[in-house]
Amino acid sequence: MTAPVLGKLLQQNKVIVCCGAGGVGKTTTAASLAVGAARLGRRVLVLTIDPSRRLAETLGVSRNPREPVPLPKDRQQAAGIKLPGRLDAWMLDAKLVADESVRRFAGSEERAKPILANRVYQQATTMLAGLHEYAAMKALHGFITGGAYDLVVLDTPPSRNALDFLDAPTRLAGFLDGAIFRMFLPSKSGLIGRAGSRLISKVLGLVFGDEFASELSAFFESFAGLFASLNADLIDVRARLMQPDTAFLLVSTPSEAAVAEAHFFHQRILQLGLPFRGFVLNRSQAGMTRKLFPDHALLPADASPALSSALEKLKWLARAEQLQVARDRGLLADLALRGGKEAFALALPNLPAGANDISTLISIADLVIAERRSGPR
């Protein structure tokens, strides 16, 4: 048996990234791991990008705070988090991060104003492909290098391709690459550069109309320097995510489709050379304690006919449930095998209440910490 991978993660890692398809319980898993690590005395930040803003409700923090918010005192207590341990949460607001970057870059509110007022910029912050992902990386960079936290848990954006958050900023970065980018600026030097710029403004003018094309140029012009500085951060954070004290986890449910998708993502993570450290099988029956099978011998002698016939029908559901338990256990064993000894495979139960209160998070954190002590099964 290998050393408990999950325990080491919670105790020593600097970054944990939770990936997975939409709807598998990523956010809840991320929050529970964060509660677990904070309980071990670490200063933890959980960062979510989920546009449905679920984590905010789960952790009881208000919507759209400008900076991370500590978990309310009573809940820290209920969760068994004691100093120096602490848990902060933040919902990533792409626009907020972008505006903040503009202000810092501009140096003064006065110089920031025309940029913030550019119509292309205003739409870009809601529509720019990869902007959420870009903002996530940018914020992650700030928090990792800031020193206020021992561990940052990142809940990745919901996306058909759960690893989009790694690719999308690259797409943006590809465009923002200095040499390419300058082509879109009113050119002052170089014959080729000028020819390129002329072709570009002609095409943009034809396609968008001259009015918008010139606004687009203004946008590129005021952003040239800012994008360059964002790019440097992006390269930093990508390098950071390759380090061994970063852990990529894959969250899945036992459904056929979700598992097939998890296998796909697992391969993708390995191909990208990212440190994969574990599977979390959510809403699984694998850990179900032994229960009795419904049997008429269990009924009291004076059982009503309704109870008796209900029990007969329950048998059908019970058989399905038993099958499910066996299937989920097999699935967990298979994930453990695929992950290898560097990774863990943890089953978490189906939580009836929709997993949106602190006690649910605490009960999952309990399971996680129990797993830490016993090591992977």
Binding site: R119, L128, I180, L199, L206, S255, L292, K315, P352, N356
Partner: protein, 299 residues
């Protein structure tokens, strides 16, 4: 769920894990059986993305251009690059000129990253399929099904024309977007359905998505509640069994309480939306057999 077969464009939305892709595949089969020339599409980015929908047809991905994927069913990815190219060809009126412009690296990179352009390309690709005619007045694809991406991306796509039209008021892009809107906002031709599960959280998200669709002015066909547990117990049996299970944890108890929880969750949904709500039973089958069952239920 009715009327959907009379539309030109049916958008299937809903968060991951609710069975959206299986359901979309089943809708395609149901439409084909009803005698429609059906085109099944999903938004893709041209990479080797995992496609649950294509898996339902034994493929890794849907074809990049419309091609048969099952008897009587045509499939295609909706690709930003393809849409932009088709658009350029129509604007510059020359395939050669379009390819030259798009072969120019800086422009290529702009189109893969710049504000709204990716969504715009996707949108134009869809528009070319809507425009395609078999013969004058007869559309090549009578019904186009779109398996929409995750919530945020769905609304980025449906909200795109309004956003871009605020910026670009004249010219070929504006014309194209207005033409697209004439489909997208027309309740006679378009319906968006939100797929969800009979559970509290997915239903809350479905309600949010319905609001988002209304904001982007897309006609909402309704909500489809997938995997509704089958009610097997009479009221008397339920009451008796509930009392008994309180003291005696048994196998099957979870599935039993899910029946009631689901019923409650759907009641709440019906109270909170004025749109039609339809339920699909939790079939035991999986894979192709499940698609078969769902297609039958949808017809």
């Amino acid at each position: 769920m009715k009327d959907w077969l009379d539309k030109r464009l049916v958008l299937i939305t809903g968060k991951g894990g609710v069975g959206r892709s299986t359901l979309t595949a089943a809708l395609a089969h149901a439409a084909q059986r009803a005698g429609k020339r059906v085109l099944l599409t999903e938004v893709a980015d041209g990479g080797d993305d995992y496609s649950p929908l294509a898996q339902r047809f034994g493929l890794n991905q849907l074809p990049r251009k419309a091609a048969s994927i099952a008897p009587g069913i045509t499939g295609s990815q909706l690709l930003s690059d393809t849409g932009i190219e088709l658009f350029f060809v129509s604007v510059l009126r020359s395939a050669l000129l379009a390819r030259t412009a798009l072969g120019f690296e800086p422009l290529r990179r702009l189109f893969s990253a710049a504000p709204s352009l990716r969504e715009m390309g996707t949108f134009f690709h869809l528009l070319t399929y809507l425009r395609a005619e078999q013969s004058p007045g007869h559309p090549l694809y009578e019904l186009i099904l779109v398996d929409m991406p995750a919530t945020g991306h769905t609304l980025a796509l449906t909200g795109l024309p309004d956003v871009v039209l605020r910026l670009v008021t004249r010219g070929p892009i504006a014309d194209g977007l207005r033409e697209g809107q004439s489909y997208l906002h027309d309740p006679l031709r378009t319906a968006a359905y939100v797929v969800t599960l009979p559970e509290t959280l997915p239903i809350s998200e479905a309600l949010e998505l319905l609001d988002g669709l209304e904001t982007t002015r897309v006609p909402r066909g309704g909500v489809i509640v997938n995997r509704m547990p089958v009610e097997r117990f009479s009221a008397d049996e339920t009451a008796a069994l509930e009392g008994f299970l309180e003291h005696q944890p048994l196998f099957g108890a979870e599935a039993f309480s899910r029946i009631k929880d689901s019923r409650r969750a759907v009641e709440r949904l019906r109270q909170l939306t004025s749109r039609p709500v339809s339920e699909l039973p939790d079939f035991e089958e999986s894979g192709e057999a499940l698609i078969e069952k769902l297609a039958g239920a949808l017809q």
